[in-house]
Symmetry: C3
Subunit: 140 residues, 3 copies
């Protein structure tokens, strides 16, 4: 059993932009010597999100944005906004709901994802950001 | 420290059907030689969900379904549906929200769940499916 | 590679009260001999939640409560309530949605959280509770 850690950065436009990070996760497994294990994907920051999603334009550009807008609209006057004046209360709520990590198992160096199941990073902030995403695998 | 992996299949009717998979998780621990550790439960597929829930008829047959129907109704005309014609945009959104995995610790081969806390699989798809669920434990 | 497990208790007033448990998680890492790894934070119970959140009064006392009240209001007449008469259907739904665990990586004994990203426990139950939260780290 062993552990390997890395991280990578991502520039995003924010505003619920959704990014397929499956290639980075798969490369991390390819480039290491662990064959059976699991990889933790963890996004730093309280306005980020990590989940799995079929990465196709309808869901990515419209449906997920409409869902999140319905749950925690960007334009609402949150208490958070009154305190800090940074206007991104919705971003924090969306992040607390979706959460910032997922763990995916792999066997024979293959992620156990479905064909239409990609690992995605969502930037909930209201402005462009440079983000750090940690990858950590354990296994043998 | 070591790792053990397995998987099992589940036939479901879909339509937000909820299945108690705690017995499969507990059996996996019983049948292996790891005493202190954690088990990752990961459902393959972008219209699946894994969470914990008190597995009682009111929540399982009515309340969770009503909540998910309120958040992402099956009958809405999603962009995803227009693209693929498969009519299950709501299933993808529910899965992205609930997510497809959870990790539960165990000590002395006992899951650290509460008395009324079961591990459940939810099939968000709009039709019957055969599903694959991965179990992976690490520990010693 | 090794594993360490512990747990701690928390008295809460319930009613969606939110508690910063980052200090307990950080102390657990400080007090052990694992330098690179990940810590699983798992709350026992089907009316609990674990996520990350900027722990500031606007979000903690108002915004998260309003979001959860919008998604699953405490006063609705759930099927769960009719079955058990315990009136906390909303608590169970909120817990199934937010879920009861998160895993956070650490490197050189430092949690990979953002500056404004705290690990929080949320008590969704409708009455004061004594709660048990498990911490388990794996790494080397």
């Amino acid at each position: 059993m062993d552990i390997r850690s890395t991280s990578f950065e991502l520039n995003t436009p924010g505003m619920n932009s959704i990014h397929d990070i499956t290639p980075q996760v798969a490369d991390f497994i390819t480039q290491n010597d662990i064959h059976e294990g699991q990889v933790l994907i963890f996004a730093q920051g309280s306005t980020t999100g990590i989940t799995t999603l079929e990465f196709e334009p309808g869901l990515v550009n419209t449906d997920v944005k409409e869902l999140m807008e319905k749950l925690a609209p960007f334009e609402k006057d949150y208490s958070h906004n009154q305190t800090w004046g940074d206007g991104n209360g919705a971003s924090h709520l969306r992040s607390a709901l979706i959460k910032t990590s997922i763990t995916v198992p792999f066997i024979n160096k293959e992620l156990c994802l479905g064909t239409w199941q990609q690992v995605v990073f969502i930037d909930f902030d209201t402005r462009p950001r440079n983000r750090k995403i940690y990858l950590q695998m354990t296994g043998k």
